[in-house]
Symmetry: C3
Subunit: 337 residues, 3 copies
Amino acid sequence: MPDPRFFSVAGPFSLQEVAEISRAELGKGADPEIVISDVAPLDEAGPGEISFLDNKLYLSLFTESRAGVCLVDPGLASKASSHMTLLLTKEPCHGFARVADAFYPEPAPEPATAPSASVSDRAAIGEGCRIEPGVVIGAGAEIGRRCRIGANTVIGGGVVLGDDCRIGPSVTLSYLIAGSRVIIHPGVRIGQDGFGFALGEKQHIKVPQLGRVRIGDDVEIGANTTIDRGAASDTVIGGGCKIDNLVQIGHNVRLGRNCVVVSQVGISGSTMIGDSVMLGGQVGLAGHLRIGDGVRIAARGGVMRDIDAGTTVGGFPAVPMREWLRGVAFIKRMSKR
Amino acid sequence: MPDPRFFSVAGPFSLQEVAEISRAELGKGADPEIVISDVAPLDEAGPGEISFLDNKLYLSLFTESRAGVCLVDPGLASKASSHMTLLLTKEPCHGFARVADAFYPEPAPEPATAPSASVSDRAAIGEGCRIEPGVVIGAGAEIGRRCRIGANTVIGGGVVLGDDCRIGPSVTLSYLIAGSRVIIHPGVRIGQDGFGFALGEKQHIKVPQLGRVRIGDDVEIGANTTIDRGAASDTVIGGGCKIDNLVQIGHNVRLGRNCVVVSQVGISGSTMIGDSVMLGGQVGLAGHLRIGDGVRIAARGGVMRDIDAGTTVGGFPAVPMREWLRGVAFIKRMSKR
Amino acid sequence: MPDPRFFSVAGPFSLQEVAEISRAELGKGADPEIVISDVAPLDEAGPGEISFLDNKLYLSLFTESRAGVCLVDPGLASKASSHMTLLLTKEPCHGFARVADAFYPEPAPEPATAPSASVSDRAAIGEGCRIEPGVVIGAGAEIGRRCRIGANTVIGGGVVLGDDCRIGPSVTLSYLIAGSRVIIHPGVRIGQDGFGFALGEKQHIKVPQLGRVRIGDDVEIGANTTIDRGAASDTVIGGGCKIDNLVQIGHNVRLGRNCVVVSQVGISGSTMIGDSVMLGGQVGLAGHLRIGDGVRIAARGGVMRDIDAGTTVGGFPAVPMREWLRGVAFIKRMSKR
């Protein structure tokens, strides 16, 4: 079970309640009155706990698990041991996410402003916000309701945050207009100057960066990620995007809605990315590209050209997945000769 | 136009003034008395505004633009619509940088030291500096005139900064001797221990890192970039270098003057780099290499050997550009069979 | 010699003392009473100073060096100039590390808690700790003895640190149980939410991250590196691991003991890594892999499969080193045709 040093568990819940929370069906012979006291991974869960199977890689852990209850795809139900109660769903991970959130809900922030925070008289702070020690908020900033601003975070003048945002410690936000329920992890840098220079032989002249960053609702941004503001128009992160740690997003980039950007990706300036695009870890994109909706780029792919909607690509320079794998197989054969 | 929430516009300027600022010639029939009130990108600019064309990719935006005035290469002047006034220059981006700087000059810092800053009695702070809340400055540090030190930045004992430096929030500087007009964006880490160990089977022994970091004038360093101090001699960043976000520079590296280092580049320890070298995004260099003046390494290139001055290389392991492209074309052919 | 602005030298030591510290033998005819006043690199050392040769690349520097004393492998002793006194050891770098540490010992922290620090009444701080300005420590945290907590660092509730830890400025630690003598450089982020979502077409549902981070004794972690806490079980960094700057370690990763992870490496979630594994710069590992003890992955290698203990691999997708080099040579031949 999660370490009580760090986590407080809610519940318990009955199997019936958990089935409703997880949007799953009770397995054959399941008793809806069973009491579930916690969530746990397959290899640690005990009789009163619920786990889930989402990756066939872990099928043997599932079969051997002592978990009392498990969320599982109906097609894998027959692999369970007889002692296990099943909750059947096509989306066990979604179900588990909902159950785990019921057992470990994110607590509302306790409203307070630390005495060591420096909040401008001309900033507007919504009701129910928690402003932790060492926070600095500039003139003209507008923070929505029930936001949590982590210790030593610096929010520049004019920045706008919607309601229920959770900003980690040691973040810097500037030139930013953000929506609601945005989660920003520690060390994120948003809104600093883009990398814009008129290059010259003797010196490079700085081009003033006069745009902003706009972030939609329900975006999450990982630790130490950097997002530069636009040079002239804005850098835009569409609603629902999930961005991992140590990602670089250059000036004027536009990410559509619900994109997933894994860690250490770099997106060069002015590249336009559609909705529901998936970028694997360490992917790099050149500047001024257009990437269509639903594109998937395998980890470490290096993209030098536009990509049509719906395409999956990999390798460097990135090509359609099948072509990349064929090239890899060819080199493998040649290098074994 | 830039959001007045964040930016204050200077001006207006006459076309004559703007021509002088941008070092451009008035196009045929241009009226030097025209009033220009702002800068804007091609697709947003209106009649009283000035824009520029620097990348042929955007030629159609240029042709369709409603901008009153545009900086453009004389060779492309004929593509302009008839309503547009032209300013002709071989370097439209340089011209625009100067004009944008005239409309949006970086304001001088308002001198002040925040009460929550912890500045050592034994630090020397030049006149006209702005020390924001939560800043910590150690004994023996020397800060030049008119520097801006962003909130919650930590400057270690003995660090030297020249005049007119602009240090962002949440930066850490230690063991550093820096010149004037240095710009450091948020979250940059300079001067921490290099990655030096005497490796062993049972344990790795830490090698004390006894060098410094030296940074020349007019250097700009992007957000969350890390520059380790030297192990014995110094890590050196030559004057005029422009370094993007999330770059790693190892101990004892020497960068010459006016280099451009795009984001997520990694330069391993003790590599020596000449003047005016360009490193594309996500490039990696092994340690102990010598890279000549004027070398260009295409994005994602991985360099394992010394490179002669003036060469352009790409790929991994990096080879001359033409050879790399030929190899890519060869694999492409083979993988389509 | 190291800049006295930043470093205070101990000593001097006699050659006999230095031989004992470095565990080296006196070279032929060496006078044990010689006085050594400092350490220095080969090209800067003078008559009263000690240097070392560990990389044949620098053999000519060795031959030409003015260093009074040098640590060197017995096999290279004949290359020394006649004025140089030699200390012979199979491990000159280890010897030098010990000598440099004797001349420049890490000073014990001066115990103090800065008035601007916000330390919870319910945190337990060991004796001899130094808590610098702007530090924030939450309820239930336990800090060992003689720890140094750098300015503006934020330590969340419940975090445990052992004795003699050295935490740099602007670090954030949460959900962490760490051992003794852990060194954490500035800007490191430990314990934030892992990148866990149940992905969906219309929205991605956040999966609560309910694990911790556990770090063994004698671990060092470089600037701006990010280590996410586990999703359910813990993220674990084994004792003695040395991790460089800007590394990403995903949730549930387990690193064995004494691993070396060079900068900008990315390790995806749930990958299990054995003891004494070496990961070169910019290496990437997919998730859910098993990497055996003693594996070495060359810089920029991209690993998509499990790797057996003791193997050295390189390239992307990573293959055994010899196979990779053969593939590279093959493409080189083809691209020169």
